[in-house]
Structures are given as structure tokens and as C-alpha cells.
């Protein structure tokens, strides 16, 4: 990563972090319908991977999707409005926090059904393979998603067909309340290796490392070398899902939480900037200002028109059964 690239990535990470903190505050204030799955702690994955995707490449996500949308270039105001399910939100208030989608930025959307986004992304990759324009597809998933049979079906099929698909596994070691080792004997990297899919395992809290590995894997995909998996070891700062004023009790071991806190991805990136002689503080401050402005506008936005509840079920004019 060049200095400019690192600054841009740091900026994205700050945007995600400060945005998510804003969202968490609004959640605690009872302003966000449904559950919020914050991606705080994972910022380097979104920022690092998407630094290297081409603007015309599709990105597919899961419920922990705010950071992916922002890193794809989605307008923070439209994202926040959607999370608040207000008018002008990306998805008209229908999709909410777990189902952001932004066609204009080639952000295909997010599935709240664990692992379901994986075959969808493989289908997109099939289209890209046919188009032959050297585009890859990026899909994100959690480590728990690899327990699902459809993840296996997707990986083996993508390998067999040589699809240009980069699967980014955000390995935070937990799946909801369950530590992953309690339900599986294979780490994501072991599993992917076992299936013969090319992969890299990286420190997901180091944006430089993530970006380097993702860049190489994306180049493989674009060159027709088949699918690749990036396993990014990381950790959630704010676990797992939040809803309303009751912040969930921390059930992860204190020392584990501490250890990861000391390697906060924003600190890692800020230190790298400092080593390059760049002061990270103004970057962060300008983002904070932007998010604060967006928050005010978003909160002032009205609710969607009630009549819109039943639009976009099917093509307009479709005679639904009465």
C-alpha cells in the first residue's frame, strides 16, 4: 500500500468505526428497529479488501454489512437512513440494518440467512466468468458460515468451475454465543485447504496485510485461476447483535477481549501512518464531523410512506392472489 492508499484505507476505517458508534448510540436510544450487528473491530477487513476491488466489481455481504456498504462507496446518509428505516434509505426502510444493498455502487446486498449469500455470489461470478472482462466478485461471510452445507457446495462448485470469486471469511472465532471451536474441529483455513481452494490467512486487524493478500487473491481470480479464500482473523469489539437500550452482557473471556482490544485495527493503521510520518488525527476528525452531520440529517428524516409497504413485492401490475 502506498501512503495515499493507506490514508484512504484509514479514512474508510474511521468512517466505519465512527458510523457504527453512532449507530450503536442510536440503537441504545431505541431509534433503530430490529437488530444491529456492528462490525466494530472488523474495519480493516472491509477497508483492506475493498481498497483493491474495481468499482465495476460486485460485492455481496451478510447481515454484518454496514462497513461493506460504506467501503463500497455508498452514501453514509443513505446507509444510515436505511438502518433507521427512514425515507431515502437505500432500501426504502424495507431491508434495514441486516439487508443493505446499493446497486449504484455494485453492492448487491446482504443476506441475514447465514451462508446464503455464498451461492448467490457464485452465481454472480458465473456471469462474470462468461462476460470474460476479467472482473472478480467479492463475498463476505463469518467463520460460522463455513459450518453450513451450502458453503461447502459453493466452494467445491466454484473450484470445479474455476469461478472468479473471492470469499472473505471474517474469522472472529465466535458464532453468536458459541465459540467456534465448540462446534467444529476445523479452522476456516484448514477447511478451505482441505477442499483444495487457494487461500491466505492473515491478521485481519492489519489493513496493510489484508489489502496485500486480498490484492493478490483478486489478481488470481481476475486472471482465471479460480476462486480464492481470504481468512482474516479478527474480533468483534461490540458483540454480537444489539437491539434497544439493553447492551448485551459480554460473555467472551475477559483476557481474550483485552488481548484483541490492544490490537485495535484503527490503532494498527494509525501507527502505520505515524511510521510514514502522517498524522492520523485530522483524518479521523474530518470523518467524525462528516458522520455527525449525517446523523443529524438522518434523524430528521421522516418515516417512509405507509403505502410503500406493499410495493416491490413483484413486478408492478402483477396480480397477487387476493
Amino acid at each position: 500500500m502506498t501512503g495515499a492508499e493507506l490514508i484512504a484505507a484509514y479514512r474508510t476505517m474511521c468512517l466505519i468505526r465512527i458510523f457504527e458508534e453512532e449507530v450503536l448510540g442510536m440503537t441504545a436510544a431505541g431509534l433503530v428497529p430490529g437488530f444491529v450487528h456492528p462490525c466494530t473491530g472488523h474495519e480493516a477487513v472491509a477497508a483492506g479488501v475493498l481498497a483493491g476491488r474495481l468499482p465495476e466489481e460486485w460485492v455481496v455481504s451478510y447481515y454484518r454489512c454496514h462497513g461493506h456498504a460504506l467501503a463500497c462507496g455508498s452514501d453514509p446518509l443513505a446507509v444510515l437512513r436505511e438502518i433507521l428505516t427512514r425515507r431515502g434509505g437505500l432500501c426504502g426502510g424495507k431491508g434495514g440494518s441486516m439487508h443493505l444493498a446499493d446497486r449504484a455502487n455494485r453492492f448487491l446486498g446482504a443476506s441475514s440467512i447465514v451462508a446464503a449469500q455464498l451461492p448467490i455470489s457464485a452465481g454472480v461470478a458465473l456471469n462474470e466468468q462468461r462476460a470474460g472482462d476479467g472482473r472478480a466478485v467479492v463475498v463476505f461471510c463469518g467463520d460460522g458460515a463455513l459450518g453450513a452445507g451450502v458453503a461447502y457446495e459453493t466452494l467445491t462448485t466454484a473450484r470445479h468451475l474455476g469461478l472468479p470469486l473471492l470469499v472473505v471469511c471474517e474469522d472472529n472465532g465466535w458464532q453468536d454465543h458459541t465459540p467456534s471451536p465448540e462446534v467444529t474441529s476445523l479452522s476456516p483455513a484448514e477447511l478451505v485447504a482441505g477442499l483444495g481452494v487457494g487461500h491466505r490467512e492473515v491478521d485481519g486487524n492489519d489493513v496493510t496485510e489484508v489489502a496485500r493478500a486480498a490484492g493478490e487473491l483478486l489478481a488470481d481470480c481476475r486472471a482465471g485461476a479460480g476462486p480464492r479464500v481470504l481468512v482474516a482473523r479478527t474480533y468483534l469489539r461490540d458483540f454480537h447483535a444489539q437491539s434497544g437500550p439493553d447492551v448485551p452482557v459480554e460473555y467472551r473471556p475477559a483476557d481474550e477481549v483485552d488481548r484483541w482490544r490492544r490490537r485495535d485495527p484503527l490503532d494498527v493503521a494509525a501507527n502505520a501512518l505515524v511510521a510514514l510520518g502522517v498524522d492520523p488525527a485530522p483524518v479521523r476528525a474530518s470523518v467524525a464531523e462528516e458522520v455527525a452531520r449525517v446523523a443529524v440529517v438522518a434523524l430528521a428524516t421522516p418515516e417512509p410512506e405507509p403505502a410503500s409497504a406493499t410495493t416491490a413485492v413483484a413486478v408492478a401490475g402483477w396480480a397477487g392472489s387476493a
Binding site: 460486485w58 455481496v60 437505500l90 432500501c91 426504502g92 426502510g93 424495507k94 431491508g95 439487508h99 444493498a101 446499493d102 446497486r103 448487491l108 446486498g109 443476506s111 440467512i113 446464503a116 455464498l118 451461492p119 448467490i120 455470489s121 457464485a122 452465481g123 454472480v124 461470478a125 458465473l126 456471469n127 466468468q129 462468461r130 452445507g149 451450502v150 457446495e153 459453493t154 467445491t156 462448485t157 470445479h160 410503500s308 410495493t311 416491490a312 413485492v313 413483484a314 413486478v315 402483477w318 396480480a319 397477487g320 392472489s321 387476493a322
Partner: protein, 324 residues
């Protein structure tokens, strides 16, 4: 030379017209892969979940996809991508995306493959908002509904009876004059008759046609209606047709609880198209499909049962079952 099945012809025409149409399944004959290209005739492992998920991703990003899942039985292995993905992405994204995806799936009819293989899920699927559930009752209808499915901008499941494809399909009753694309939701008045309206869908279209003939032999003129699709359904139009006779027998192969024909019968009565004592619903038994043909015959509504129901609705003395 054997006539090409009109549904095959419809598929071939769509493949020729639409270069972006792809077909996903576990097996394509080599000739088809050569003719249309392996990038369109895509072969996948026995992994229906990923198959339908991939089809959804393809459809979301510019292609039209037909998934030949072989049997509705195997669609249960892909119910998440059907119920939660393909039929939800348009709504979730407030219309940013659409999913032009058709699924062909065999139901039940003359094969005797048992409880796991033979399903009649049109009512179940009709509960999924936005999903078109097409249930052809004849070879031309199979072609017409498939042709329409291959032009529709949203997911469509075409539930095909194996009976429509078995040797001898050419001589099945054919209520549709042509294999041209059919509109979804528009019931087809197959025959006219002033005494009673017999309503079928899928396999029971043949049953009601048989019953109409039997009733004609007893001096009763039946209007026969094929619903064609379980969803959508223009019930107002159907009510108009039924009003002409003021008497209706609705015949469903599926179990009665939460069935299509219960739902339609209620709506017809509520619309005043027919008084309640002049309606009958004949349903399949709430029972899985046994392999033994004699046992299976017990479950499905047959011509004598429909004739009986019609005579009952008409206030005429009924037959003993089996006497037609």
C-alpha cells in the same frame, strides 16, 4: 418421427431467442451443451441449495435462469434460496434488483415413486408472496406456462405432472388450443355448460374433463375451468364464470387443510358467485404418496368422486363411488 413435446419446443425457442438464458441442472445431454454452450447449459453437483442460490445470483445480475430441479421433491432441499432469497431480494432492496428465475419441477402422476419423491406443493408455494405458481394441466399448457415463465421478471415455479410427459402424452386431453405463452392468473374456460362448473388444476384438469363427459352422459352440462396457476389467480374472473352455472365442484390433488381449492371455494362463496349448498370441494387425502398403485388410487380424487360431488351439488341423487 415422434412429435417434439411442446414444452421442449418452448424451451428451445426461448434458448434461441434469449442468449442470456441459462439452464441449471445436474445433467445436460452433451448435444444440448454443444448446441447452446456450456456457459448456458450448466451442470452442477447434487446440491440443489447452491444450485438455486447460484441461479438467484445470476438472475440478480443480468441473466435469466431456468433451474431444472428435476422434482418438486428436491426443491425442499433448496427451500431457503426459494423462500428467503429468490423471492425476497426484490423486496429487500426496494426494487433495485429483480430475479427473473424459473424453476421446473415434477410433481406426481403415474410414476409410483413414493412419499419422498411425489409431492403436490402448489398450495404451500402459493403462500410465498410474489411467487408465481404455475400448474399446467396439459402438454400445451406446460408449454404455454413455461414460455410465460421464461419471460416473467420474477420467480416462477412450474409444477409439472410427469403424466404430461409420459409416453402417450400426445393423446392426452388438450384444453389449450396452442402452446403459446399463457397469462398468469387467468383461469381457462375449457368447455361451456350451464349446469355446473368443474374446476381443476394440474392433474385434476383431466379428472374434471372426465367427469364432465360422465355428467354429459347423465344429461348434465358442465363448464370446465382450468385454473392454470395457483398464484396469482384472478378470482373475480373465476367468480364470473362460476356465476353462469351457480354451482361448482373444485377438485384438488393436495390435502384439504389450507388447500388451494378451499381457499378458492371460500372466495367464490364470499363473492356470492355460488351458494354454499351448491359448492363441493374434492381433495386428495392428507396422506403421503404410497408406491403401490392401488393404494395411491385411494388417495387422489377420481372421476366418480367428482361426478358424485357434482350430482350432490345439483341436488340430484348421487352415484355409488366407482359406478361411472
Amino acid at each position: 418421427m415422434a412429435r417434439r413435446h411442446p414444452a421442449s419446443a418452448a424451451l428451445r425457442a426461448a434458448l434461441e431467442e434469449q442468449p442470456d438464458l441459462a439452464v441449471l441442472c445436474t445433467h445436460h445431454p452433451a448435444a444440448h451443451r454443444e448446441l447452446f454452450g456450456a456457459d448456458r447449459m450448466i451442470q452442477l453437483p447434487i446440491a440443489e441449495n447452491a444450485m438455486l442460490g447460484m441461479a438467484t445470483g445470476m438472475a440478480l445480475t443480468g441473466r435469466r435462469v431456468l433451474v431444472n430441479v428435476a422434482r418438486a421433491a428436491f426443491l425442499f432441499s433448496a427451500f431457503d434460496p426459494l423462500v428467503n432469497q429468490a423471492t425476497k431480494w426484490r423486496y429487500l432492496t426496494d426494487g433495485q434488483f429483480r430475479v427473473p428465475l424459473a424453476i421446473r419441477a415434477l410433481t406426481r402422476g403415474g410414476e409410483h415413486l413414493g412419499a419422498q419423491h411425489e409431492h403436490v406443493p402448489h398450495a404451500m408455494l402459493a403462500q410465498v408472496p410474489g411467487l408465481v405458481v404455475a400448474v399446467p394441466g396439459s402438454p400445451n399448457s406446460a408449454a404455454g406456462l413455461l414460455a410465460a415463465a421464461l419471460r416473467h421478471p420474477d420467480p416462477v415455479v412450474v409444477l409439472e405432472s410427469p403424466a404430461l410427459f409420459a409416453p402417450g402424452w400426445e393423446s392426452l386431453p388438450e384444453p389449450e388450443p396452442s402452446p403459446a405463452a399463457l397469462p398468469f392468473g387467468v383461469p381457462n374456460r375449457v368447455t361451456d355448460g350451464r349446469d355446473v362448473t368443474l374446476i381443476g388444476i394440474g392433474n385434476t384438469v383431466r379428472t374434471v374433463l372426465g367427469a364432465a363427459t360422465a355428467l354429459a352422459g347423465r344429461g348434465r352440462a358442465a363448464q370446465v375451468v382450468d385454473l392454470r396457476t395457483a398464484a396469482p389467480l384472478d378470482v373475480a374472473l373465476l367468480a364470473e364464470l362460476v356465476s353462469a352455472t351457480g354451482c361448482a365442484v373444485l377438485v384438488d390433488e393436495a390435502p384439504p387443510a389450507c388447500s388451494l381449492m378451499h381457499s378458492v371455494a371460500y372466495q367464490l362463496v364470499a363473492a356470492g358467485a355460488v351458494p354454499p349448498d351448491r359448492v363441493r370441494v374434492v381433495s386428495g387425502a392428507a396422506c403421503p404418496a404410497p408406491v403401490n398403485p392401488g393404494l395411491q388410487a385411494v388417495l387422489a380424487p377420481d372421476v366418480p368422486a367428482v361426478v358424485d360431488a357434482a350430482l350432490g351439488a345439483l341436488g340430484a341423487p348421487t352415484l355409488t363411488k366407482g359406478s361411472v
